[in-house]
């Protein structure tokens, strides 16, 4: 099944997902642009909201408050037709270093991960590393088993992908 994606042009830039350890998940991707552009797309709310929820079937981002600076907070709310209530994701930026690093907490649950994104420029291209560190192995297992709760989001992405392929 992964092969279908490989033939598309976007597959030139592979997104790699790895479970690094019992408590860590890592996603990497290289973008063909200097770091200041990639960082801008990530750190400006009006740009961030254009890609964080890929123009999806069903799922919509109803609010997106991001105060991107060290100590600032964020709150994203999504709505999905299958659910009465919007889903909220929120937390605090622990570190924001322009063109280098953003670190934030995920405070929807007590066992939320700490997320670190790093940006590294090499010869005009930018390597983005998205790293989630869960407080305990149990918390990652919980995310694994309990990901049913994050279902609408995931399915929206699946719908999107399926629509793209057909």
């Amino acid at each position: 099944m992964p092969n279908e994606k490989e033939s598309s042009s976007a597959a030139m830039n592979r997104t790699v997902v790895e479970r690094k350890s019992d408590r860590e998940l890592v996603v990497t991707r290289t973008f063909d642009a200097p770091v200041h552009i990639v960082f801008e797309a990530w750190s400006k709310p009006e740009l961030f909201r254009l890609w964080w929820v890929p123009k999806s079937a069903g799922m919509s981002l109803i609010s997106c408050d991001m105060d991107i600076r060290t100590g600032g907070t964020y709150r994203l709310e999504f709505r999905h037709p299958a659910f009465d209530q919007p889903m909220a994701f929120f937390g605090t930026y622990r570190e924001v270093t322009p063109n280098k690093r953003i670190v934030w907490t995920n405070e929807e649950s007590d066992d939320g991960a700490m997320t670190t994104v790093t940006f590294e420029e090499h010869a005009g291209k930018t390597l983005v590393t998205f790293h989630e560190l869960y407080p305990t192995t149990a918390a990652l297992e919980e995310a694994l088993a309990g990901s049913a709760e994050g279902l609408p989001e995931q399915f929206a992405q699946l719908d999107e992908l399926l629509a793209d392929r057909s």
Binding site: M1, P2, E4, K5, A10, N13, T15, V16, V17, E18, R19, L25, V27, R29, F31, D32, A33, P34, I37, V38, E40, A41, W42, L47, L50, W51, W52, P54, K55, S56, V128, F130, L144, A145, G146, S147, A148, E149, L151, E153, Q154, Q157, L158, E160, L161, L162, R165
Partner: protein
């Protein structure tokens, strides 16, 4: 793909219920009969049978009838589940990063155009 999605669908539907997650946790400790589970979760035999049947369809639980007792145990899905979880993450992030890629391309072209305008 459709088959894969249908399977994920069944898994997530099965996991979306707090009682069924409790049952999985219970069975992680030891096998149990439907009667045991119904008692433990304070519910009717029929209610528990329904839950078990959903877990069974998702491949998370297997059952075996010996005599008059139906014993439930965890299915062999844990590793598969993990693989599925990673795969869903990959799909989510591929979709996200493809969109970011498009945006980044757009910003790059805009910046180039601006720079050329300035030079003129």
């Amino acid at each position: 793909m459709v088959h894969y999605q249908a399977r994920l669908d069944a898994t997530f539907a099965a996991l979306a219920d707090v009682t069924r997650r409790g049952v999985l946790e219970q069975l992680g400790g030891s096998d149990a009969s439907i009667t045991d589970l119904a008692e433990k979760f304070d519910m009717t035999l029929t209610g528990m049978k329904k839950h078990i049947s959903i877990l069974e369809q998702a491949g998370l639980v297997t059952t075996e009838k010996i005599g008059r007792v139906r014993t439930c145990k965890l299915g062999r899905r844990r590793l598969e589940e993990e693989a599925a979880w990673i795969e869903r993450h990959r799909q989510l992030w591929s979709a996200r990063f493809d969109a970011l890629d498009e945006l980044v391309e757009h910003l790059k072209r805009k910046e180039k155009a601006n720079a050329q305008r300035k030079r003129k």
